[in-house]
């Protein structure tokens, strides 16, 4: 395999078979139980950091909550490290652009972690218009014995000071502070849908509907525009950018997906403005099967490189496709997420669900992929065995270490016991955001305002 593959932790080499060689168990659920969900509490992004020790969530209210995995307790060998709140802060606030009469939502569209370089943790969070670099640092010591002020902070009368002392560091209760270190603003006319940190750890890209910009993490007053698909005449607009990501190892390569179901791979070495792609990925369509819905359901809502960098995965409305970067004319694997919805497209168009943007993710070894669906169902596909499983994030199956039972949707005819019919699916319960721990079989699933954490069964 090519270099750059993450070292799997020793014990997980056994489990690297993928999503279906073992069973998933409930571990934790975060968030309120009440039926009335405030819009601000809806989770809009979930992301593990590079080590998997930190798990960040962003919500529609502009807040970020970071969970940290507890050290495993030797006296309780059956409890894998649990995730508990580490830090929470208000990342973005609602704004109004008076010049354009635009309301700017505070909803966090994406969070991306930076690789850790010192004791502090850094992440990028973005709403529709502004990207912020946050530093999360710990403080567990404080200085005592100042000369000019006493312990409560009150200034001492300088005439009363008769001796000098050296302040000493004393331990204190751990305090986690989040501070905004950089604010990258005013570079996007349209709504930001993606941010991606480059493998050079110095630059990152941000993509909106029509443009992609390249930033340096240290420089906030300048960014380079590297893709611009805005037509001279807006009447000629036929597609928009839906997602973008840097290659995990080649710092000059990135991809972006479109609302027409195509992916373009660009090489920043070839020209300053990457309007001409190096590779163009599109699956040929059977013209006789084209319908009113074809283009809408082909729109790609997420694109993710595999950890190996050899493949990329795209999510459209009904399926997930795995592409080999060396083959542009069709995907190498296609997985149906909820094909039974094809005969419901009319009502899904009417209730706007057809425009829902589902994300997808790889497991650490690239042997399995996961994506969400409706009714709080999420799906996992094992690329080696070609087996798939449907699981549900629900409070009913939320007993500690309870094994999740596979779910099945009945597509018509006789409904077996335990199956659910397509018409009974709750389309308001959508799982758009999921994340897989980079090395272990731990997954985080966002179900509206609740965050579920599942782990594999410990033998």
């Amino acid at each position: 395999m090519s270099g750059g593959i993450k070292q799997l932790a020793g014990r997980d080499a056994i489990l690297s078979g993928g999503g279906n060689d073992f069973q998933w168990c409930f571990s934790q659920v975060k968030g309120a139980i009440d039926e009335d969900v405030a819009e601000a509490d809806i989770i809009s992004t979930v992301e593990f950091n590079y080590s998997g020790d930190l798990l960040a969530t962003g919500d529609k209210g502009g807040r970020v909550v970071i969970f940290q995995r507890e050290q495993e307790n030797k006296s309780r060998p059956h409890s894998r490290g649990e995730y508990n709140v580490y830090s929470t802060f208000q990342s973005h606030e609602p704004e109004f652009d008076y010049l354009k009469s635009l309301e700017i939502e505070e909803k966090i569209n994406k969070i991306r972690w930076l690789p850790q370089q010192n004791a502090a943790h850094f992440l990028l969070s973005t709403n529709d218009k502004t990207i912020k670099l946050w530093k999360i640092s710990e403080r567990d010591k404080r200085a005592e014995g100042y000369n000019l002020k006493d312990e409560d902070g009150r200034l001492r009368d300088p005439f009363r000071i008769t001796a000098l002392r050296v302040p000493i560091l004393k331990p204190m209760d751990l305090m986690v502070e989040a501070s905004p270190r950089r604010i990258f603003a005013n570079a996007h006319t349209y709504h930001i849908n993606s941010i991606s940190v480059n493998s050079d750890h110095e630059t990152y890209l941000s993509a909106d509907d029509l443009r992609i910009n390249l930033w340096h993490l240290e420089i906030t007053d300048r960014s380079f525009n590297i893709v611009d698909i805005k037509p001279a005449n807006m009447e000629e607009l036929t597609e928009v950018i839906t997602a973008a990501e840097f290659h995990p190892h080649h710092c000059n390569v990135f991809v972006y997906s479109s609302s027409k179901g195509t992916i373009r791979l660009c090489d920043m070495r070839s020209s300053a403005l990457c309007d001409r792609h190096s590779k163009f990925f599109e699956e040929p369509e059977d013209p006789s099967s084209r319908s009113f819905f074809s283009e809408i359901i082909s729109s790609i809502s997420d694109v993710k490189f595999s950890h190996s960098g050899r493949y990329m995965m795209t999510r459209d409305y009904l399926s997930v496709k795995v592409w080999d970067l060396n083959m542009e004319n069709r995907p190498v694997e296609t997985y149906q997420v909820h094909e039974y919805l094809r005969s419901k497209l009319c009502s899904l168009y009417e209730n706007d669900c057809i425009f829902d943007k589902f994300e997808c993710c790889w497991n650490g070894s690239d042997s399995a992929i996961m994506t969400g669906s409706y009714n709080n169902f999420f799906r996992m596909f094992d690329r080696n065995t070609r087996r798939d499983i449907t699981l549900e994030a629900s409070r009913e199956s939320s007993k500690p270490r309870a094994i999740l039972k596979p779910r099945k949707v009945c597509t018509g005819g006789k409904r077996k016991k335990d199956e659910i019919s397509v018409d009974s699916l709750d389309f308001n319960k959508k799982i758009l955001h999921t994340a897989w721990h980079p090395m272990e079989n731990i997954i985080a699933v966002a179900a509206t305002n609740n965050l579920y954490i599942f782990q594999d069964k410990i033998n």
């Binding site: 601000a40 807040r63 099967s289 497209l345």
Partner: protein
Amino acid sequence: MSAESPEPASAEEQKVVYSVIFNLLLIVFQEMEDKVISPEKAEEAKLKARYPHLGQKPGGSDFLRKRLQKGQKYFDSGDYNMAKAKMKNKQLPTAAPDKTEVTGDHIPTPQDLPQRKPSLVASKLAG
């Protein structure tokens, strides 16, 4: 084949029978395929029946431009104040059902303006 011969059909005869059955099945399937419309096209027909004025190209520029303009609200304080004054005297035409675009044609009333967001509280995930 003679009805009185009880011996099993020869290989040649079996081939003939099988090919006849096969051809019959082919014809039946072809007819079925012609009658069965893909579920997607059936859904499209349903949509067109409900909304006969729906445009031909859903991915066209109108659709995309609407998507790009998400969040746009127009407000004119002069119009607003005049409307507030006039409202005391007579009823103004009611707002169009499409509340996403508050344009110059429609005088915004206090009910139409976006509510001030509630004060920022801590996330329940951290609770």
